[in-house]
Amino acid sequence: MIDFIVQMFSYGFIRRAILVGVLVALSAALLGVCLVLKRYSMIGDGLSHVGFGAMAIALALNFTPLYFSIPVVIIAAFFLLKISENSSVKGDAAIAIISSSAIAIGMIAISLSGGTDIDINDFMFGSILLVTDTDLYISIGVSVAVIVMFILLYNKIMAATFDEDFVRATGTNVKAYNMLVALLTAIMVVVGMRIMGTLLISSLIIFPALTSMRVFKSFKKVVVCAAVVSVFCVLAGFVAAHLFALPPGSTIVVANLAVFLVFSVTGRLVKA
């Protein structure tokens, strides 16, 4: 087993993919605690679909995908945040419309550009072969930014996630924190899409937070546990994928599902 893992790490592209995977999962888990508790889970999902559309248009027009899709997804993130804050517009319905429209426009762009040699499957479900050095540098940057932000703003994030009105009423600018979370989520989604794919990236955001809330009931414990669970699941997913020749993105999601079920049962037993 040890030999097997050592051998797995000897491939440069796998090493790179695992590193990006761990960093993306860690930042996704931290941002996910905020998003899930604010009931913004669907924002991650909406963003990944917009990311797909942007990526497809970039390929069709021969732009560098990352440089084109990151700004587009950031704009989409602010827009989705605005929709979700304003309850007079039905936020969930708006996100569904944006998601499917983005996919549709992306597919049409690919089809119009005619015979691009990209595999749609890779974009939908992820591929570790898509991970580039640029992805690696961006994901290192994003995860460092997310972790530093989380430590420095931890108390503000907790207070504002629990009761936004109270924090606003006592004179703290909550909008700026919401924007920061949306910005980092957008970049994280674009980078993470390479490995996890459009359809699976939101699980990295949602699963760890939900999983740790099955067992833990203090904010600090939920955050720490979500971080640990996310990294564990990425590593376990990669090893299992390599061992049984499975698609890594899907294997990581299934690892998350398995841990979620274990935590759910544990949570029940602890309560009983």
Binding site: N155, K156, D163, D165, A169, T170, K217, S218
Partner: protein, 232 residues
Amino acid sequence: MPLVAFENVSISYDGVYAVHDVNFTVEAGDYLCIVGENGAGKSTVIKGLLSLVPLKSGKIHLIPPMTRRDIGYLPQYKNVRNDFPASVYEVVLSGRLSKRGIFPFYRKKDKQAALESMRQLNILDLKDKPYCDLSGGQQQRTLLARAICSAGKLLVLDEPVAGLDPKVTQEMYDIVKRLNQQQGVAIVMVSHDIHAAVLYANKILHMDQTVQFFGSRDDYVNSAPGRAFLKG
């Protein structure tokens, strides 16, 4: 000593006035109840005071040395998440956030203030309990402890007893009265319960989009809107 003054304040939602041309002042040590029918703009007055909604016209003056950071706030119980993973201590301590400004961590002083307000409300033994596992009354005490440790001068309460059972309701009223009388905290409370309002408050603001009555409790009981509302 005046703390807050509303001057011709109007607030509208989607072009319709929720409150119109409101004038009143809150003095140090006041216990002001805002009463009125459903939809009369009671909560809107409070949201204006807390800068949660923009003013259409008029001005709300916080009279120095009073600042926004001296206001503690207890939101409507049903508006606060009760499935949130946080310990009682984490929730109460979050009341000290505005005292920290841009400094990222709570200091010893903040932790002491949080513990002190938990002691006052008799929830010190619940310190490490998950907030979501508490009873409604305990949750409301936790939120009140958060409000108290965030500010000492003015406490704004939006229907603090809505959804609580009669025994817990009485407890809440007693706690608020004690804070007002013993600690000199000024209270602004939106209340559905007109009888409790005239029992505890020293001033009444009766709203129906516009101010129907503002003045002392004793005058209110004998005024036309007061007599009509108390009867109904």
